[in-house]
């Protein structure tokens, strides 16, 4: 349904669109990171596009990804960037959707912020920063949103230990603790 959006996008920005695709009925465009702002601005402002409804920003960690169908001992050495940042947009006027995906390497996990174009992305980008540690350049207030300031690391990265807790309250000063209470 939104194939015409992908066609228009590819015709308008042939240098910015890496490839396009269709994932379970949702149109996806892989965008180069340095062209994201101009592509997003055009998607928002062009009357034929008018993506006025920002759905979500999130990220994917591909640290242990292998393509399906390979035998388990097959060597797999395609250099794929570790993270993908997904930006899902929707147009209430024309009733079409598009997903922009930006591939981000691990050693330079930065993406230009879209919160100027769509203010609703402010907290979503903070959440992505909180969980994945991806920095959004130009964000007005990039702090942790769910976790506390003392938290070290990014818990939704797949190399974060699954049950590693970082308590705020010391566990050994209970009311009935005999170590503390005995004079």
């Amino acid at each position: 349904m939104a194939q015409k959006v992908l066609d228009a996008l590819t015709a308008k920005f042939p240098h910015a669109v890496v490839r396009t695709g269709n994932a379970h009925g949702d149109e996806v465009a892989w965008i180069k990171r340095e062209n994201l702002i101009e592509v997003a601005r055009w998607l928002r402002d062009d009357p034929a596009m008018s993506f006025d409804y920002p759905l979500f920003v999130t990220a994917i960690d591909w640290i242990d990804w292998k393509p399906q169908g390979l035998p388990p001992d097959a060597a797999w050495n395609e250099s794929k960037p570790r993270f993908t940042v997904c930006v899902q947009l929707r147009s209430l006027k024309h009733r079409h959707r598009i997903r922009l995906e930006i591939e981000v390497p691990e050693n330079d996990a930065r993406v230009p912020s879209l919160s100027e174009l769509w203010p609703a992305f402010n907290w979503q980008e903070r959440e992505t920063y909180d969980m994945f540690g991806i920095k959004f350049d130009g964000h007005p207030d990039l702090r942790r949103i769910y976790l506390y300031e003392e938290f070290v690391g990014y818990p939704l990265r797949k190399d974060y230990p699954k049950e590693k807790r970082q308590p705020l309250v010391r566990r050994d000063d209970l009311l009935i603790n005999p170590i503390k209470r005995t004079p």
């Binding site: 769910y146 309250v169 209970l174 009311l175």
Partner: protein, 179 residues
């Protein structure tokens, strides 16, 4: 060892009259006038409302009046999941309550963390505050809550609550240092 529950006030009064100790009288008064502080964080709160509502009627046991100020309550009901971020708030609420005080962990999340085995959930509120009675269930049935309340009342009558034991220990330590 089976726990003998006293279910009616007459039974309980007979027990008290037989023992006739000042402490027993105090505890008898305390156990029938529990003022709850509902620390409700998650879906178990619906079940807590059900217990407090007329059908199951927590008021039959004297615990009818939820006070939303920790200074006016003596039973802290931790209802639902408590995260690591929330632990300082829970500890502070507990510290603000007047002695003697009791804690009930309502549901598996408050008791053990439940199915959250991950970075953000505290594995049971007993990591931070002492808990007197644990109620299993996700969420627990109202009957389980009433059962736990009766168990707690029994503990209060016997002076086996955590804060009661701690007070006794402090008394003991003070008397020994005087000698």
């Amino acid at each position: 060892m089976a726990v003998e529950l006293t279910t009616t006030r007459l039974e309980d009064a007979a027990k008290w009259a037989k023992l006739s100790k000042m402490e027993r009288a105090q505890n008898w008064g305390r156990k029938f006038s529990l003022f709850t502080y509902p620390f409700v964080t998650a879906c178990c709160g619906m079940e807590f409302m059900s217990v407090a509502a007329p059908k199951y009627d927590l008021a039959r046991f004297g615990a009818e009046f939820p006070r939303f100020s920790p200074r006016q309550s003596d039973l802290l009901m931790v209802v639902g999941t408590v995260t690591e971020k929330q632990a300082p708030a829970l500890k502070r609420v507990y510290d603000q309550m007047a002695e003697p005080k009791w804690v009930v962990a309502f549901g598996v999340c408050a008791s053990t963390g439940g199915f959250y085995q991950n970075y953000h959930t505290m594995p049971g509120v007993d990591q931070v505050i002492p808990v007197d009675v644990y109620i299993p269930g996700c969420p627990p049935r109202p009957e389980q809550v009433l059962d736990a309340l009766m168990l707690l009342m029994d503990r209060i009558q016997d002076g086996r609550g955590h804060s009661q034991i701690a007070a006794k220990r402090e008394e003991l330590i003070a008397s020994r240092t005087e000698e």
